[in-house]
Symmetry: D2
């Protein structure tokens, strides 16, 4: 049994930062060596500063850990970043410049041509982009990004269809949980008994990021998948779990049964299957007529499995279905941790 | 000032029945002459039997009215029906056979070729179908239907586009309130903090009914509008108000501004504009980026106005937008009352 | 028909400020002559600055009104204040010094010995305190306060019992709506599917304010009513409406029927009954076993009526009951407007 | 490692029945040998009949188990009963007559003088009542009951105070989750954005049962604890978790610190501490000002720990506090399973 690999968490006091802390606290490969936050918080014990909102107790060792300033270097070859977008760029690049692998949940670097935007089951090969990134930027470290919370579920559900039949286009409508907006996030007066049919920038993010994730690396750059997407985003009064309705047009026709089979067989490459955060099935299909539901299906695969239901013909395109994805695990902290695990499995971090 | 026209309410104790009672209690043209319900309730005072859930007091006169059995004849030339689908057919046909105009919210007769499925602003001319109905069935009365709660808003938002540009197809996803399922309806354990991505039969209803409502009467029959629809229905934790996202393909291209103009100019025929239940604008467009919202926009036009927002280009078709409609008023009782008013305005009921 | 009396609204853009604007927009006696807000907002049209959240449209005249700075003098003999507590003191005193009657919803002056804390039906006579206030402070105007949102309902339900039987003590637990915390107020992540058993300072406010409101003016000062109160406050996931359970001990025993009769007969003095905002009955008792409920009973008396239910014996004290009060109307803006009306009815403002 | 003890579940398809199945599926001592339900369900596979609502998958072995009729004998010395109250009496007595220990969540036998109403940490000694029960009724088996869902948390929080200082009386107001009403239970139209201040029979149950649980066995009968209780029950829009505010009067004065210490030291007898379902601490005290909260504190001790917060002086009695208890675990299935474990630990079942 080898020693655990020290890692740092940037932006450790926020909603996603807390999720990182929870996932890493009992991680089989990693151990938290540094918790960083804003200068006001630095120097104080994490347990005093954080407004801990996870429904499990904060481990005592971490409660007593002194918060570090968000400046490199910090202990740990990997820095998991939950920084706010408005401060993330300088801090994350600074850590990469000092040799860290920064796996970020922030949107800021996702569409940089030399930054891999990763869902390991889909595009583990995109990891190679960091060679170009390091060469171009002269960094000993690198920045890697996980996708937006509502992109992750969509990309995972489309990936097996894209591989098997080619996805030409899709109409998507999301019903997203409030945790996606962080804390304090959505005021309760805005969402109790209500729906907000708008999430700033979200539709564009999903349209762009999905094409990059499903794209192909050619000559050190990602060629986006030629998939047309039209997304409409809504906020609903759920706490966790983004549900999405999808109508999809395929390049090669497929029956619902064939689509279900493709989704169920989807596994990702061998090296990814063995990662601690990888679920047994990245996509599960539930054939009961009224599934998936956030309250019942969210915890599959410890929040890393996307649940698909209602796979049926579309009167206008090929297929329709509904998907559910855990927005703060598969769509944020869990996704980043899995990328960190891939760095270890590939021998880039030891 | 002429005397009020007596009307009956069938299924008066249920959710939609109560809404009928509330709308008719202060109606300028109608007065409630009979409240009918199941045999168990008949003979008892309405106020004792009904579990009144409207947030205004039940008028004393109606509380004291003895519930009638649901058998014709009852006082009133018009019978507004909120009957359950499983008992509606015989009862409604019985009343029509006895000379009543039955305006029904039940799904059971909606797709009958000789039953007008009406939204007066859109298809007041379909009223003529009842001549054929009466001839064919030999009834002195007639059955007329209002559409399903989620169809009403969609048809009203599409109608001005269809007239101006021709609607070829649309992808629709609904976020529907629990009142659409009646009482007791959706168990709270199923919907608190949750979404249910399935409403039995609803998608098919919307696809069929919209084409009939927007269709053309030819040779005494409705030729459905040639509009392709793909609908996905979801139940969310709102009390009232169905919100729908729409991506629409037009036969003649239109900019968002042209679409907004068409919606805003939409009024319906002169005779409909003067009906007491007709709102000043059947469709209002709100250009604020995060509207419409159920809690803020539902009461426009006393619940008879559909609010449209976020009209913008669609990456795959022509336009995208969001609509909100009051499911128990424009989508149920208010819709039926408005049809009853049209019968009066056209001189069919005096 | 006399001309309307011009009034100003301080803090006009917040939640309570908007409620003032809505109530005053169609008021029979008052008209809005000035809308004041922070310096950043001053000089811009109200309709552009305010994030209007009332479910009725903002009247065009007010949308176009230029926001004034919160410095006296402003047009209007009465200034209704919805200012934040941290800035209210200087501004409100400044307006009183300039001759305005400031009716404030802010907590800051409520317990000042020379400031009347008023619920007109209960303690219209406390208005006389302002003579002392003006003498002591040398102001031509005056400051008057309405109680905290959760105090108002409790005081109104206790007042008839106190008059008839003497209230000795009461145990109270509140279930308060999120609108009581203003906007943005309670984050949705804190309250969806949850209860927060704590509202800072609220319990102490209710205990203190109730005694003052029900107190007696003696020698120009309020002698608090000798009522022992133990209050526990909770925030629940309702939008509007504070519900409270009460166990009360009386100085003179009373049956539930006697208590109900006292509440139902309660009217307040003649001069208060005629105010536009005074409901026909300040307290209504609903004997149905499961009432009052926020969604069904909140709008009684246009939000100015407190609904009481479940009046029954207490195994430990005399009586138990449940009350419901509209926190942003009877507990905030409506309360202040009614006090303003009393100033007019008493001839202090013309 | 000894073989597991076979047990039966009566009423296995309902909400509490499913919770039994979930808790027993991985129980270290028990294994499910029979799943019984109504005659309509009998003979069919459990997985086909049950509308499984637990957020973890139903184990395949149980999904395939054929549902038995609810008639004795069934395999298993212990029968855990989640039967509806209207059918429970005959069935449960029938099983006891056939030799089974019936541990029931139903209210029907709780107040029978010879039926132990048990919370093992508090009154393990009440188990001796079954000798009298068997003698009086001539049964080889016995019926044992766990308390009502809202009683369990109250009794556990009061028990250490009662032991240390003597509880004289308490005023309690509950905020109860919808799962307490079973499925379909509370209609969503009744509870979304609402509070229902009434739960039929609940207040009386809590007042009676608490006194029995905290009572003393004398001469083969329970002498109820002389505690005066006044309870007011409310249903709020939470899924799981009953929160209660308590004002308590003690026979011997205690400071909040002394009360906290007594609660924290509370453990129950040695034999109970070792049961698989017994949490490390039956009562945890959280000193943060806004705790306990259902969404954050419910899962402590796998749902078997009651969380207490806000322990502070009461202006009218001695102490006030807030408690939170998991209504379907500590207040139902978990409670019954723990009683079953006690039967094993005491050697009554092998």
């Amino acid at each position: 049994m080898r020693a655990k690999i020290p890692v740092a968490v940037l932006g450790a006091t926020g909603t996603v930062g807390q999720k990182f802390v929870r996932l890493l606290a009992e991680h089989p490969w990693f151990e938290i060596a540094a918790l960083a936050a804003s200068d006001q918080s630095a120097g104080r014990p994490y347990g005093e500063v954080v407004r801990w909102r996870e429904p499990v107790p904060l481990p005592g060792r971490l409660a007593g850990m002194t918060i570090a300033r968000s400046t490199p270097p910090l202990p740990g070859r990997i820095a998991f970043s939950a920084l706010d977008a408005d401060v993330a760029q300088d801090i994350e690049q600074g850590f990469a410049r000092c040799g860290a692998f920064v796996v970020t949940n922030t949107r800021i670097h996702r569409m940089d041509p030399d930054v891999p935007l990763m869902i390991p089951e889909i595009n583990a090969g995109h990891l190679g982009l960091i060679e170009r990134q390091r060469a171009a930027r002269g960094w000993p470290g690198a920045v890697l990004a996980n996708p937006n919370c509502s992109t992750a579920g969509l990309a995972l559900a489309l990936a097996p269809l894209h591989t098997a039949f080619g996805v030409e286009k899709a109409f998507v409508t999301t019903l997203q949980a409030v945790s996606g907006a962080g804390y304090p996030g959505i005021p309760s007066l805005d969402i109790l008994g209500n729906v907000i049919p708008f999430i700033g920038g979200e539709e564009e993010k999903m349209e762009r990021e999905t094409a990059k994730i499903l794209g192909t690396v050619r000559d050190g750059a990602v060629e986006p998948a030629p998939i047309g997407l039209s997304v409409q985003c809504n906020r609903v009064a759920t706490v966790d779990g983004h549900l999405e309705t999808v109508s999809v047009g395929l390049r090669r026709r497929a029956t619902p049964e064939e689509a279900v089979a493709a989704m169920r067989e989807f596994r990702g490459p061998e090296i990814v299957r063995g990662l601690p955060s990888s679920p047994a099935a990245p996509v599960e299909v539930d054939l009961r007529p009224d599934r998936p539901q956030p309250r019942l299906d969210l915890e599959r695969g410890n929040g890393m499995t996307v649940t698909v239901g209602r796979v049926r013909p579309c009167p206008l395109l090929d297929l329709r279905f509904v998907l559910l994805s855990h927005n703060t695990i598969r769509g944020a902290a869990g996704a980043a941790v899995q990328i960190g695990e891939l760095l270890v499995a590939e021998g880039r971090v030891e």
